[in-house]
């Protein structure tokens, strides 16, 4: 059992985790109760677990909690108060989500791209999240004006 200091969405947490290899994803979900970040594959292929770590998109399912400690982590819950991030607004305006399960990860990938200075169509190559519902047409439209 070890205590890890986590900085998530601007809040300092102390997470008691027995296995140092526990991925950040499961600490966020099961210990901190932040369930917006999703499990899809566990092998960094689908992107459902995308968060921002020190401003960069990162895949929480493959990051050990020991590596995540002390880094600045932003999850979908911390992206904005009340859906005010431009990506979230665009997602609502264009009615992008269908089932919605992949969308937190998708939005975080977009937010990360924007934070890195990409806009409009330039964002698209940064977004590789898997969406089984197939919302890509509306993702493209939503991203075009970001």
């Amino acid at each position: 059992m070890a205590m890890y200091n986590l900085n998530v969405n601007g809040t300092a947490y102390q997470a008691n985790v027995s296995d140092a290899a526990t991925p950040l994803l499961w600490v966020l979900r099961d210990i901190l109760g932040l369930t917006g970040t999703k499990y899809g594959c566990g092998i960094e292929v689908c992107g459902a677990c995308t968060v921002l770590m020190d401003g960069q998109p990162a895949h929480a399912c493959v990051i050990d909690i020991s590596s995540a400690a002390g880094r600045k982590i932003v999850t979908i819950e911390g992206l904005s108060a009340n859906n005010t991030h431009p990506a979230q607004k665009a997602w609502i305006d264009n009615q992008v989500p269908q089932c919605g399960y992949c969308q937190p990860g998708m939005i975080m990938s977009v937010a990360g791209a924007m934070q890195a200075g990409h806009h409009g169509k330039e964002i698209l190559p940064e977004v590789k999240n898997l969406c089984v519902c197939g919302t890509y047409q509306r993702v493209r439209t939503a991203v075009a004006k970001l």
Binding site: D19, Q88, C99, G100
Partner: protein, 785 residues
């Protein structure tokens, strides 16, 4: 059944709970769920005494004036709840955003983030719930509108009674206006909110004032007067899905909850030899039995176990490292996809006694079959031009983004269960109740099901396997427990879209009419795998095995459609409902052959089809697709187009695709034009989204979808070996909805079937290679991020 019969037999009105309640029975997808039309009719056959427990939806106007609609469906991304609110609001004459839609799990208005832990409508456990068959709007179109209209007219009658009580008698309906949740008596300018009228509206005196209460033509708002139906409205659940607040099944947390991860026998049909000892760090290891027969998986066999711990990661790690001794089934050949495909080919050629003739008549009578075959053989023999091909389609997994999971809490008094509460991402809450009842012995009234948001349903979450496992686990640990499957368990233990081997021979006469058509499909049957001693499925033609092959719109001379059943002895892989079911297989063959005939006739694919179809609605779809895909006439070199059309779940969809070949062994799908006739589009935005999503779904299966099993063991366990479209792969998709005033038909599934043949037809135009086996690119992998 006439509209009048539907209303009088299935709806009742009462003043229950202080409000005005119109109860109604809304049939679910028909074939897929516990109660279809026929069963409902039987239940209500007496007429005289309505069994309130048979009703599964309510429109309730509370004394506060709130309009509530409770229905037993689920939200899995198809946006049905918005459409239902539109139907009700149109007739009830209220603001659609003020309608509170209650699913069986929540008291919350969908406009606020859903917390799925409050219960409502306890005692509704005898209701029938289900979502599937592209039926969410289409099956509720009439009953829900009628219920709303009946409530409205009773509220007007309530106003008449109010006026009477104040000394003025006026029962002339034309003097009253119902709008915006109020009734106005125009001559006296008196207004009452609906809330003020509910108690009078529920009385027999009010009923007397509405003699036309059963007359739908009198009750319903004319199509031309629609203000809400047909509007592109925003879905109220979307903000929770962009903020991260939306809770899916896998997000459920309860006080004292344990976490469990399931491990199935890696060989399909295998069972536990012994239950392993509980490893250090685990709370318990629970053996799990299969809830039903599925091919090589035998009902009640111990085919899996759950490792219970105090968090998901720990449970998963312990499950992966657990040494488990399995007893393998005696024959794994029936769960080997290469062997199954070979047997299918053999049976196609030599079908044997079990073959069904499906069209022109359903029979296994060998004499009738022989007569029909002789006629088609003769027609083929005298055809001027002939085409033929054998098509092979693989098993395909669902791969919902949210893995199978379920949370169950069975509460005990000593050793006896007293209650069972379940939180499930399920399309089939009725079966959840039945499953819980069978496992715990509890009556439905002691079982409460909360239907959470689903991270994808796609037909997978109709099934009870993961639900049964959660209940069994909770019973073993006597605590609430969330049970989930790692992705690897999902890919290995799906209930797959069945494989198919299809042989088609067709001929044109000297006038280039389709004079002969012989279609034979060898495929496993979902309903046969689920046959029991009492349901006799194996005595019936499985309509799903031939859907998309029968009732084609083309005028043909001598034609027949045959089905060669592949039963579990030769095809032991579990099969289930995959978005668009049988049509996802048969339309590939049928529409490929049509294009081959067009080629033989020297005609353009659009013209060829138009000249051999008489149905006006189908022709209108073709004409619209012709217009929408005008770009196909000026495609640059290196790109080619292809088209296909099909009707599924009452809805006709025509798709035109534009493909290119960037490098040998690759395909780029540049653009898809999609035209849909689904009758009145209640929410065109939702229809468009279903078309866009259905196209991607179809493309995934066409290009890559392929579940390979070798001697019972799954060869693709995660997305890295199960390629699916990412944003960069996705074509531009244009959707046009044909405008007409026909009743709404389904939209969740119909966009899927035309994709595969449209792609194959385009590919042929591009490369002169006719691809008849799917997927186009077996073994494709998907790289890491």
């Amino acid at each position: 059944m006439s509209v009048k019969d539907q209303i009088t037999r299935r709806q009742f009105i009462s003043g229950a709970a202080g409000g005005l309640v119109v109860g109604l029975f809304l049939p679910a997808g028909g074939r897929l769920f516990g109660m279809g039309e026929a069963e409902a009719a039987d239940l209500l056959a007496d007429g005289a005494a309505f069994d309130a427990s048979a009703l599964n939806a309510w429109v309730r106007i509370a004394p506060s004036g709130t309009a509530e609609l409770m229905f037993g469906g689920c939200e899995m991304g198809q946006g049905t709840m918005t459409g239902l609110a539109q139907l009700l609001a149109e007739e009830l004459k209220v603001d659609w955003t003020k309608i509170v839609i209650k699913r069986p799990d929540t008291n919350e208005n969908p406009n606020t983030p859903v917390t799925p832990y409050t219960s409502s409508y306890l005692g509704t456990s005898t209701f029938r719930y289900g979502t599937g068959g592209s039926s969410g709007i289409s099956r509720r179109w009439l009953p829900l509108r009628v219920a709303g209209a009946q409530a409205r007219e009773l509220l007007v009658a309530g106003a008449m009674l109010k006026l009477r009580a104040s000394g003025t008698e006026d029962t002339d309906r034309t003097h009253y206006v119902a709008a915006h949740g109020e009734v106005t008596h125009v001559p006296t300018s008196t207004r009452w909110s609906y809330g003020a009228l509910v108690s009078l509206a529920a009385t027999p005196d009010a009923r007397v004032l509405v003699p036309f209460i059963d007359d739908a033509t009198r009750l319903l708002t004319a199509t031309a007067d629609f203000k809400i139906i047909g509007q592109r409205l925003q879905r109220p659940d979307i903000p929770a899905k962009t903020s991260g607040a939306a809770k899916f099944g896998i997000d459920v947390f309860l006080p004292g909850m344990m976490f469990a991860v399931v491990k199935h026998c890696p060989t399909v049909g295998g069972v536990l030899s012994t239950t392993p000892a509980t490893p250090t760090g685990a709370i318990k290891v629970v053996p799990l039995k299969a809830y039903d027969n599925r091919g090589a998986v035998v009902k009640d066999s111990w085919n899996a176990l759950a490792v219970v711990a105090d968090n998901t990661w720990k449970a998963n790690k312990l499950a992966k490292s657990l040494k488990i001794t399995w007893k393998l089934p005696t024959s794994t050949a029936s769960v080997d996809t290469a062997t199954i495909a070979q047997v299918a080919q053999q049976r196609l050629a030599t079908p044997g006694a079990g073959m069904w003739l499906a069209e022109p008549v359903a029979t296994t009578d060998p004499t009738v079959i022989a007569t029909n075959e002789a006629a088609v053989t003769a027609a083929l023999g005298s055809a001027t031009a002939k085409v033929q091909a054998t098509f092979n389609l693989p098993y395909v997994p669902h791969a919902t983004m949210e893995v199978p999971n379920c949370t169950a809490s069975v509460v005990y008094s000593g050793t006896t269960p007293v209650t069972c509460e379940i939180w499930a991402p399920t399309q089939n809450a009725s079966s959840v109740i039945a499953t819980a009842s069978a496992l715990t012995g509890l009556p439905a009234s002691s079982i409460l099901v909360h239907t959470t948001f689903l991270g994808g349903g796609l037909g997978r979450k109709i099934e009870m396997d993961y639900v049964s496992q959660a209940i069994q686990t909770s019973m073993a640990v006597k605590a609430p427990v969330k049970v989930m499957w790692p992705r690897e368990e999902d890919f290995a233990n799906d209930q797959f879209r069945p494989m198919a081997a299809i042989s088609v021979k067709a001929g044109l006469d000297s006038a280039k009419k389709i004079s002969a058509w012989s279609y034979r499909v060898a495929t496993p049957s979902i309903s046969w795998q689920r046959a029991t001693a009492t349901n006799n499925n194996k005595l019936k033609l499985d309509g799903q095995a031939v859907e998309g092959a029968v009732a084609l719109p083309y005028t043909r001379g001598s034609s027949l459609t045959e089905w060669v059943p592949l039963d579990s002895d030769v095809a032991g892989l579990p099969v289930g409902y995959w978005r668009s079911v049988g049509a996802s297989m048969n339309v590939f063959a049928a529409e490929s052959i049509i294009d081959m005939l067009a080629d033989a006739a020297g005609e353009d694919p659009f013209t060829f089809r138009m000249n051999r179809i008489t149905d006006a609605r189908t022709l209108a779809v073709l004409a619209a697709a012709d217009t929408l895909s005008a770009w196909r006439k000026t495609l640059p070199a290196g790109r080619a187009w292809g088209m296909a059309i099909s009707k599924a779940f009452g809805t006709t969809v025509c798709e035109v695709v534009d493909v290119s070949q960037p490098a040998l062994g690759t395909m780029k799908v540049n653009r898809v034009a999609c035209v849909v006739d689904c009758g009145i589009a209640v929410n065109p935005d939702a229809v468009e989204a279903q078309m866009q999503g259905g196209v991607i779904h179809g493309l995934n299966a066409t290009l890559w979808g392929n579940a390979v099993f070798k001697l019972g063991i799954a060869q693709q366990l995660n997305f890295n070996k199960n390629r699916m479209m990412r944003l960069g792969d996705a074509p531009e998709i244009q959707v046009a909805i044909v405008q007409n005033t026909y009743d709404p038909s389904g939209t969740g599934e119909p966009a899927v079937p035309p994709v595969a043949p449209a792609i194959a037809n385009a590919w042929y135009r591009l490369t002169k290679t006719r691809v008849t086996s799917l997927p186009f690119f077996p073994g494709a992998t998907m790289g890491g991020l």
